[in-house]
Amino acid sequence: MPKFEYAPAPESRAIVTIEKSYGLFIDGAFTRPRATFPTLNPADETVLAEVSQASPEDVDTAVAAARRAYEGVWGRMSGAERGKYLFRIARILQERAREFAVLETLDNGKPIKETRDVDVPVAAAHFFYHAGWADKLEYAGLSASGADVPRPHGVVGQVIPWNFPLLMLAWKIAPALATGNTVVLKPAETTPLSALLFAEVCQQADLPAGVVNIITGDGSTGQALVEHPDVDKIAFTGSTDVGKAIARSIAGTSKKATLELGGKAANIVFDDAPLDQAVEGIVNGIFFNQGQVCCAGSRLLVQENVHDQVVAKLKRRLDTLRVGDPMDKNSDLGAINSRAQLDRITSLVEAGVAEGAERWSPECTLPAKGYWFPPTVLTGVSQTHRVATEEIFGPVLSVLTFRTPQEAVAKANNTAYGLSAGVWTEKGSRILWMADQLKAGVVWANTFNRFDPTSPFGGYKESGYGREGGRHGLEAYVTTAPATLTGAAR
């Protein structure tokens, strides 16, 4: 019997230069590295570089630099001029795409095929998209006719997660700059490298000093940034717990905030669905980026009369998934980002099995070093199980069943979250009805995990508030209140 074996096809890591240690990027320049901590390659636990832990004083310096840049140059610049910088950044991202893809894969653990085909091109697309808005904000319909034109808030503090380090940076920085705000951004503790390479891009694009500041560190740095009195707006993507803490800390202040938090999305498969594509959508929904996606389709709700068929097809498909070296161009699944996340996934799956779920994984050999978890399907899951209610944030699918569209909606909405949902059916009218009923910020029909800068993204309930992307995403970064009340007038 012949067997098609793919020879190793590793992407070269020589394309990107990683410094031994990094300082903070403040006011257009890197500081000297200080109080450093290591960032690891989660695929083999080797140290990639040392990065600096920003202190409250560093945060202060960065915010002050952003304030100066806002008042001195960026806040006064015409939209058309700001747009030029954004276009320039977008083009540089494209030119250096391979570098970014390799660096992101090394630091995050996700497969090179994803960084190459999704993270980096979509990040560039966000800059292109928002570059186009920069000189058209007056016409975005953000303020009532006759009211003031939309104006920036001032200094924006942004804290982003480790699952899409560069892409989340783009989601945050592109709209902030397009609308005339300046930025202090803190990348996640475990994935700071692509943000630091982006700092180089800002230099390469001749972006005025202080418009973008990148400070690395752990949660305490993020807290110092969020609580800094001279920050006008907070944009956060991350866990619901931290999101709640941020909301508490800014209560009673004039700070604006958008929070993009957790999710427990239902991917709903009806019996008339295009089943082969639905299976692809299920796989993409939960195994894309090892399931470390806030909008992951972690709950499969499948109509009971096709449950066995769908699960059989799904298992057969998962047998062909390739788990391994993230730098290999043929790897479909890479490493889990950190030991802490791996432990969380492991303990939640164990809890699921203890509660009665049946656990299945395809045969796959996981590397000896690094943080790895096999693609996992939990069948026989009930609404009451922890694996059906808590966000696992890993390659773990919980399978539940439903009998009628009404029951599907009730179960899908029966969660503290409300970020995304998927509907699979060949019936157009049912798609529209479901989209209307589902309490989720994004509803995908006959597809899943599709991202486009023109489309707003955000959640209901504990998935946060505010929208990112599209015309709606601009709203969070501008004010139409009288000028005397805003940062612009200070």
């Binding site: 019997m1 012949p2 098609f4 074996e5 020879a7 085909d117 295009p274 082969d276 062909t320 006959n446």
Partner: protein
């Protein structure tokens, strides 16, 4: 599981088997329609995205060498022109026997594919080499002829020694919803084939939708086709990756349903090694490695062979030779 015998002899047997698969007492057009239209739909966007994503597999070094040799062995080396002559067909056969005079380890293609009147010529030229002769039949490429003519066309080729018959379905009947006519025609041609293997050309470029491709695939398998084939090569688009993906899903699911295996042949427009490798990746990841032999997967192609030989030489020597270092037929 419904068991389908592989030693079927009469059209009645095929009809009986079809009734068995459908679970009906009489094989009517209504029964066929309900069954075919009850198959899950194919989402165009998702299907094309899946095919494109399989196309990004990186096949290098040893895997590439293996894939090239495997692909060469799966080619139905084809000439189907009004201008075909005895000389042209003999030349094509000589090419099949010695694909690369510079390298005797180069595998031979699986078959030569010609019009029925050239079967005897090809047979004589290929001798006992083991390379099959496939003949297109049933008023190829349009299929617009009466049944007696189609059957005579088939028998003529079989009597001349064809090992394989590539028939075309009546796309008009299919698109009009007359599935029973399509079924009966395939079943009768299958009978006329005798021991020759039957490839059923669905002309997917005229069926247009993936739903139709899926239905035509099931109908062709139900009626006794040994292979399902995309295209005549005379209609654009001919073979595409997503169409072949739908067909590979069909043969995979058909084997699960009936226990019998059916082959797949994309034909037309596959010209480069890169393309061929994408198809092999798809065969492996969609249908499974069981299909990765000439018995179950073929390429209908003419210029593909020389590109594969060129790439084979490149792997062996490390340098690209050039068009004049591979022979034309």
């Amino acid at each position: 599981m419904v068991t389908v015998s592989t030693t079927t002899r009469t059209a009645q047997d095929l009809t009986a088997q079809a009734r068995d698969v459908l679970g009906v007492s009489r094989l009517t057009n209504h029964a066929l329609t309900s069954w075919l239209h009850g198959l899950p739909g194919v989402d165009q966007v998702g299907c094309e995205a899946r095919a494109a994503s399989l196309g990004t597999r990186s096949v290098k070094t040893t895997s590439k060498a293996w894939a090239i040799d495997t692909a060469i062995g799966m080619i139905d080396l084809t000439t189907l022109e009004g201008s075909d002559t005895v000389g042209k067909v003999r030349s094509l056969c000589a090419k099949a026997l010695v694909p690369d005079p510079l390298d005797g380890t180069t595998p031979r293609p699986a078959a030569i594919c010609v019009y029925g009147d050239m079967v005897a010529t090809a047979k004589a030229a290929l001798g006992d080499s083991g390379i099959h002769v496939a003949a297109v039949a049933t008023a190829f490429p349009s299929g617009r002829a009466s049944m007696p003519v189609k059957l005579a066309d088939t028998r003529d080729a079989v009597e001349a020694g064809a090992d394989e018959i590539d028939m075309v379905i009546d796309r008009g009947a299919f698109l009009a919803g007359d599935y029973l006519t399509v079924f009966n025609q395939i079943a009768e041609v299958k009978m006329a084939c005798g021991a020759a293997h039957l490839k059923v050309i669905m002309e997917t470029g005229e069926l247009v939708t993936y739903d139709n491709v899926r239905r035509a695939s099931y109908l062709s398998m139900l009626a006794g086709g040994d292979f399902i084939k995309t295209s005549t090569g005379k209609v654009q688009p001919a073979a595409t990756l997503p169409v072949t993906l739908v067909m590979l899903e069909a043969v995979r699911d058909w084997r699960e349903l009936t226990g019998s295996q059916v082959g797949v042949k994309p034909a037309g427009g596959i010209k480069t090694t890169k393309d061929a490798i994408k198809y092999l990746v798809m065969v492996s990841e969609i249908a499974g490695d069981d299909w990765l032999t000439p018995e179950w997967f073929r390429f209908g192609a003419s210029s593909l062979l020389n590109d594969l030989i060129l790439q084979r030489q490149k792997l062996a020597t490390g340098a690209y030779s050039g068009a004049d270092y591979v022979t034309i037929d």
